[in-house]
Assembly symmetry: C2
Homo-oligomer: 255 residues x 2
Amino acid sequence: MQILTENPNRDYPLGYFAELFKCAKSSVSEDIKLIRSAMDTAGYGYVETTSGSKGGVRYVPYISDERALQVLTKIKTMLEEPDRQIGGDILYTSDIMFSPELSRGAAEIFAKHFASTEADFVITVEAKGISVAGFTAEMLHLPLVVIRRETLVSDGPTLSINFFSGSNDRFQKMSLSKRAVKPGTRAIIIDDYMHGGGSIKGIEDMLYEFGARSAGVGVVIAAGKEWLEESSDRYPLIYMNESPDGIRFEINPRI
Amino acid sequence: MQILTENPNRDYPLGYFAELFKCAKSSVSEDIKLIRSAMDTAGYGYVETTSGSKGGVRYVPYISDERALQVLTKIKTMLEEPDRQIGGDILYTSDIMFSPELSRGAAEIFAKHFASTEADFVITVEAKGISVAGFTAEMLHLPLVVIRRETLVSDGPTLSINFFSGSNDRFQKMSLSKRAVKPGTRAIIIDDYMHGGGSIKGIEDMLYEFGARSAGVGVVIAAGKEWLEESSDRYPLIYMNESPDGIRFEINPRI
């Protein structure tokens, strides 16, 4: 079960486990049945099996609505802490975004939502989205590509674009190694925070320059509800809205 | 088992599982025994239990020497691919460092090595070490702190230091939010690449400025063997050495 859950969306033949545990395939098969029913009860995902002589098994991560709400409520409560506001609508979120527990929880929600997109990789821009994007990539069994804000020597030849960052209120640069993305591929874009959509637009432009395209966009916090209505493949977890009483957070009611 | 392995080093009372699966604590206890023996066979970690009325259970990740060598051999083989060299001793490693499978593997080796340090958090500097550091933090059930190369508005007041980067052959800046680290704490430093040790020294200086200190240093690739001999709490996974025949990689024989 651990091998399956640490390697989501990857097929394992029953023979693999039979050899590992030195037992008959039929016993493995019985155990898989037990695991499957335990999983159904716990709400952490499910186990898919294919029968026949080449019979195999894979774990598909799945977060129950109840657990998704638990995770998002915890993030929302932390966002509402009064000393998080640095000034205006700027919030300190590094501890939330790099918390293994919370970033994994957010990633499970993204992985469930984007499970059927058949994307080729997950892409983000450094730095606060890397943890969520990394867990999402792991759960979908896809590679992770990280766009940089500053070019590093070790990237080799890079492609750079400029984009307008709403959260920093100025133009910024993003760069990606020429060898990081192949033409004709599709990416799930994951980011921690969206304010105006400049950096998401930047990532989409970057994909276009590589001959690749977006298969969907997931952000943890979206400032402004209008963003949602633009397109159905955009999936924010928590909305942040300014009101006369201050900043308000709302969990995306679609989750 | 999934709940345990996705929440390493965290205690769960047996009653938690009894309630979740609606069964007696004694059945949970029997199942835990089964899980423990399966774990021992598979070499993925072990399950610790405490008995008595407050009896609980926790999963401690543990990578067997055999699996550690498998992961490191895979990374070494990829590093040896001829088109990875960008010029001189600069290598393209983003795909390796952000591969969920390989970065998790490297993290398992670090988590095992640093399990007894009783550190308070894991720290890295953006960007290529974030995935390995994130998995290490998750497995040790610690928060992750990420030092930035560029100050972000959302960090609020930051503390910055300059360090000499051997891999980029120039002085660079790193910044960390004033609220990210508490005085008196201890950190495990994780980085993807060490060349001359400037950035590790920078992280150590940064910790010092916060009144915190290092509990150990893990790097995936260390250029130059002399680094190892400096101190026993420094733990590189793969050495990179220049020789007249080109660059050579060697798995740390201590692993």
